[in-house]
């Protein structure tokens, strides 16, 4: 390789290494801010601010969905299956993919009592693609027993 090319190669590699390092440090420092929502653990340990619009997300706990008798109001609990959990109240139509044991993201305000008043609910589809016909065979897959939730990939899918 001629000397001029060697010099160009060195400069080019230096520029790429510099850009990579700069960006890596920036992303490491901003990691939690780049994330779209607060996980249940960060909501319950007080990291999430009260009374301002935030996003929070996790898994809808099995058996926690409670539709109010009048109107479109609904309450449910969001959990990470690791002991962190908070209650959500929302009034309005829910997305079709809103289901127990599935990932969900809510936007709204956290109150002092730990209740999350949501004004938007978005469903997080996970990485699993299962044809409709086989539904009966895996009828219980929506809500696997807690100890196998991780194996089913549901926990990681909904939290991350």
């Amino acid at each position: 390789m001629r000397r001029v090319r060697q010099r160009r190669l060195a400069v080019v590699l230096f520029v790429v290494a510099g850009a990579t390092a700069t960006l890596s440090f920036a992303l490491l420092a901003l990691q939690e801010d780049v994330g779209l929502f607060y996980e249940p653990a960060r909501v319950t340990n007080g990291e999430a601010p009260l009374g301002v619009d935030i996003r929070a997300g996790g898994i809808v706990r099995e058996g926690s969905v409670d539709y109010e008798e009048e109107g479109l109001g609904v309450t449910f609990s969001i959990t990470d299956y690791q002991g962190h959990e908070f209650d959500v109240r929302y009034v309005g139509p829910l997305p079709d993919l809103f289901k127990e044991c599935k990932g969900i993201m809510v936007r709204g305000q956290l109150t002092e009592h730990g209740l999350f008043n949501a004004n938007e609910v978005l469903a997080k589809h996970d990485e699993n693609y299962v044809p409709h016909e086989t539904r009966d065979i895996v009828a219980d897959r929506d809500c696997p027993p807690l100890e196998t939730a991780d194996e089913a990939g549901l926990r990681t899918a909904a939290i991350r």
Binding site: V12, L23, P95, L97, H125, D126, Y129, P131, H132, R160
Partner: protein
């Protein structure tokens, strides 16, 4: 090692590339279009609805290939940028010029199909999460490569600036890929991870694989055709080109 060096030098020769690439364009168009036709008809018409998404799952067969291909086009452009900066190979510069607008279109296709899919499944067409924002940035990068070249008057300077942007922009690619694992996002994690059992049932996986292959072949054909057009544009006065045209 000898053949690597020979291929490198030959591909770097517009004349050699122009003569040999015509058959490739026709072949890639034919194979790519056939595969896309088979994969799309299969995916849109003959695959059962998905358990949760219903018929919306069919958008996957366009969205995933487009998104994957968009990243691959960028990686190719970045490698070309590297080759141009170190070796000043004209063909690498022409490849960047030819592929950038195509990459832009493919990225926009991935974004558009993602929005269409998001409305019925997520409940919204757009969220500002790490995956969507880094993919939007990819579209801007492709657009920037085209705009930067046009903004700089002197072609040799424009080529160097574009190559540098192309190379530095490659840091966005790992961010797109790992955004769903590093950060909390609404976008789902990957269904196909090398070394793991796919989380996607074979009935969906098969037409998807056909379309991914089809997209790659067809767009490779488009890129080569665009590259040939660049060669004609830049080498228009060359004797070999006049000879080639009068012969055919």
């Amino acid at each position: 090692m000898g053949w690597i060096k020979r291929t490198f030098h030959r591909t770097g020769s517009p004349r050699w590339f122009f003569a040999g690439s015509r058959a490739w364009v026709i072949g890639l168009y034919a194979v790519g279009a056939s595969l896309i036709a088979v994969g799309s008809v299969w995916g849109l018409g003959f695959v059962p609805p998905e358990r949760l998404q219903g018929n919306s799952v069919r958008i996957l067969f366009i969205h995933a290939p487009a998104a994957h291909l968009a990243e691959a086009i960028y990686v190719a452009i970045a490698i070309a940028g590297f080759v141009f900066l170190v070796w000043r190979m004209k063909m690498a510069d022409m490849l960047i010029e030819a592929a950038a607008p195509i990459g832009f279109v493919v990225t926009v296709l991935a974004l558009a199909t993602g929005i269409i899919w998001g409305i019925p499944t997520w409940g919204t067409g757009w969220v500002w999460d790490a995956r969507t924002v880094s993919t939007l940035l990819l579209a801007f990068l492709f657009f920037g490569l085209v705009a930067l070249r046009q903004a700089i008057g002197r072609p040799d300077r424009a080529s160097r600036a574009v190559a540098l942007l192309a190379l530095v922009g490659v840091v966005n690619i790992p961010i797109i890929k790992y955004s769903v694992e590093w950060f909390t996002t609404l976008h789902q994690p990957p269904s196909i991870v090398i070394g793991e059992k796919p989380a996607i049932a074979p009935v969906f996986l098969m037409p998807l694989a056909v379309n991914v292959l089809g997209f790659y072949c067809f767009v490779a054909g488009v890129v080569i055709a665009a590259l040939r057009a660049r060669i004609v544009e830049r080498e228009g006065g060359a004797q070999w080109l006049h000879d080639w045209i009068s012969k055919s």
